[in-house]
């Protein structure tokens, strides 16, 4: 079975092992140690870690398309945000009549903007199952339509990157509009509960953290399964020599579309888990800047390794947390410097460093070098 294949790989076993040990340590330290103890992991930290894990899942999704398909998506934030909005809409409907105006149906922002009834696209979001399907379907459909058009007409390389950027930028502007009915600039916030659990309790937060960890593990395994399958090799073939793959009889556009849609859905799941943990979803998640930042996490961690994406996302965001607290002015210098240094001196990222140290000892098929691909992009 293709889905179980990754479990036989050492790299996946290692990844899942480290992830679960780390999660167990966090949970144990959170529950078992008293507050104030040096070892205690506060619920603040748990939520923070949960957020990092969401970002890690998002980075894995981006790495799947960038690392293995050579599609540098500068619009993955859009899929993340759509997943987030789907979850946010569910959470908004869950507020029910506990909102400021006590309207049992309409969210607060609709009441004070004088909306008379719920727009059609909000229907169904009061049901968890529907919302959760939409978490996958909304980004999936967007990716399907966008990808179908783009890949069919063989928009590649830089052009593709730029139009993915245009996509997320257009969506950002659209979601900013209050007429859209998604809360405009304020977005959706003031969530109360999820599946009946009060979001403002530590237990729920811990639960969300665990759920995110599990989602990351599943997402990682799915990506790994695709990468390790023949389809994964075809992806690399499409990345490195698109024309050759086509003349071998592969429908390159369909391969790209499939992987792109899977990636978009994973990003959507990441967004959906992110929203209840940070407590707000607003159009700024669509900002092209955020999407570029995701790519940098992947680049830092190491492209086309998947686990590198996880490392990169967690590291950068941890640094962000520390810097914005300790020396806020220096944060952008540090982030900017990181971008430059990594691309110039560390083209294979941290995973590349790890791999080169390990080389000789263990030949792991974990890394699939995309460097040859980049030389091709240059000539395209």
């Amino acid at each position: 079975m293709w889905l179980t294949r990754p479990f036989q790989e050492r790299s996946t076993q290692l990844f899942l092992g480290i992830l679960s040990i780390a999660m167990i340590v966090v949970v144990v330290l959170h529950l078992a140690t008293p507050e104030g103890s040096a070892l205690h992991v506060s619920s603040y930290t748990v939520t923070l870690l949960g957020k990092y894990l969401c970002y890690a899942l998002l980075a894995v999704a981006v790495d799947l398309v960038w690392g293995y398909l050579g599609i540098l998506s500068l619009g993955h934030g859009a899929f993340f945000a759509l997943g987030g909005y789907a979850m946010g809409m569910y959470l908004m409907r869950q507020i029910g009549d506990r909102g400021t105006y006590g309207d049992p149906i309409l969210p607060d922002f609709m009441v004070f903007l004088n909306w008379q009834e719920l727009p059609w696209y909000w229907l169904g979001f009061d049901m968890a199952w529907f919302a959760f399907i939409m978490v996958l379907l909304a980004p999936g459909l967007l990716a399907l339509v966008f990808g179908f058009l783009a890949f069919r007409s063989r928009v590649t390389g830089v052009y593709l990157s730029i139009i993915t950027q245009a996509l997320t930028f257009a969506l950002m502007l659209a979601f900013f509009r209050n007429e859209m009915g998604f809360g405009g600039n304020n977005g959706l916030t003031d969530f109360r509960d999820l599946l009946g659990f009060n979001l403002r309790t530590d237990a729920t937060r811990l639960g969300l953290f665990i759920a995110t960890g599990v989602a990351l593990a599943i997402g990682y395994v799915i990506c790994r399964a695709i990468v390790a399958s023949k389809l994964g090799r075809v992806s690399i073939a499409c990345r490195d020599a698109e024309a050759r793959a086509r003349f071998l009889g592969y429908r390159v556009d369909r391969v790209q579309l499939f992987v792109f849609v899977v990636s978009a859905m994973l990003a959507g799941v990441a967004g959906a888990l992110y929203v209840p943990q940070v407590g707000i979803i607003n159009p700024s998640e669509f900002s092209p800047l955020f999407s570029i930042e995701i790519v940098v996490w992947v680049a830092l961690g190491g492209r086309a390794t998947l686990y590198g994406a996880v490392i990169g996302a967690i590291l950068v965001n941890y640094a962000k947390t520390v810097f914005t607290g300790v020396m806020p002015d220096a944060w952008l210098f540090a982030l900017g410097g990181l971008f430059v240094l990594v691309t110039v001196f560390l083209p294979k990222g941290i995973a590349g460093l790890l791999a080169s140290r390990r080389k000789g000892k263990d030949d792991d098929s974990g890394t699939d070098d995309p460097d040859t691909a980049t030389t091709r992009e240059a000539t395209a």
Binding site: S229, L231, L248
Partner: protein, 274 residues
């Protein structure tokens, strides 16, 4: 899991887009038939009223000076370039102009590029694996399992192209000649009815050339082979029938001796060598 299933279902919605793998009909004549084909880029006529017929099992060499339209012709046959006018038929049943590259490839037309193009980030074995004639739709590819018979077939081709020792090496580290061989090997894996081979011996040593010639001639008969080549010695060593292209149309056609004695040909092409 559900994601994947859902997607696989969606994949089926587009059934009409999947390649049609029906046999080529050569009962009524040639395997490849080009008639009155014209292509121009920015006013430049790359192909000019080209007519060409390749018989089943034939080994045909195509020569011509730079810019004669050899590569463009291959682009047209394989669906990369759409001609302005004309018709291109594969057997008597398949109009190639209505198909895209993967469909044409699945019909059994294999193509080797001028510049050797292999998947450098994959191993030699994997390169051949991808080329293998199997169901190449997305979901079957995702579920594909390496069977013993496939492995045997790959090993067989590895032996044919003499790369069995490099089986698990990345294709990127191969020499130029080895890449050419690997690419030919990939064509063999495809089991094509028609092979289009663009400059197969560029950058090869004398010995490698000989082996290539051997291989190509051995293929003819079972498959039709069209070779575009600059190297006259090589062409002479394999050619039975030669077509000379000039300014996008056929200048002469016949045996190597015939064409090399054709005054027109001497004037435009061989004249430079003589």
């Amino acid at each position: 899991m559900s994601i994947i299933q859902e997607l696989s279902n969606r994949d089926r919605v587009f059934e009409f887009l999947t390649p049609v793998a029906s046999p080529v009909d050569v009962r009524h004549g040639p395997i490849l038939y080009l008639e009155d084909v014209n292509v121009s880029f920015d006013g430049f006529r790359a192909i000019n009223n080209l007519n060409l017929t390749i018989d089943d099992g034939e080994l045909r060499c195509i020569i011509g000076p730079n810019g004669a339209g050899k590569t463009t012709m291959m682009d047209i046959i394989t669906g990369k370039t759409a001609p302005d006018t004309g018709s291109v038929w594969f057997g008597s049943r398949h109009n190639l102009l209505t198909m895209n590259e993967p469909e044409i490839a699945s019909l059994g037309i294999g193509r080797k590029f001028q510049k050797p193009t292999v998947f450098e980030a994959l191993t030699v074995f994997e390169n051949l694996e991808l080329a293998m004639a199997t169901d190449k739709r997305v979901i079957p590819t995702l579920r594909a399992v390496m069977k013993a018979e496939y492995r045997d077939r790959i090993d067989e081709v590895l032996e044919t192209i003499g790369l069995e020792n490099l089986r698990d090496q990345l294709a990127g580290i191969l020499s130029h000649g080895q890449k050419q061989w690997l690419e030919i090997g990939m064509l063999l894996m495809q089991k094509p009815r028609l092979l289009l081979v663009d400059e197969p011996v560029a950058g090869m040593t004398e010995q490698e050339m000989e082996r290539t010639a051997e291989l190509l001639t051995s293929l003819a008969g079972k498959q039709s082979v069209v070779v575009v080549e600059h190297d006259m010695g090589f062409v002479r060593s394999i050619a039975r029938k030669v077509t000379v292209l000039h300014q996008g149309s056929v200048l002469a056609e016949g045996s190597m001796d015939q064409v090399s004695n054709d005054p027109e040909v001497i004037k435009v092409y061989l004249g430079e060598e003589a």
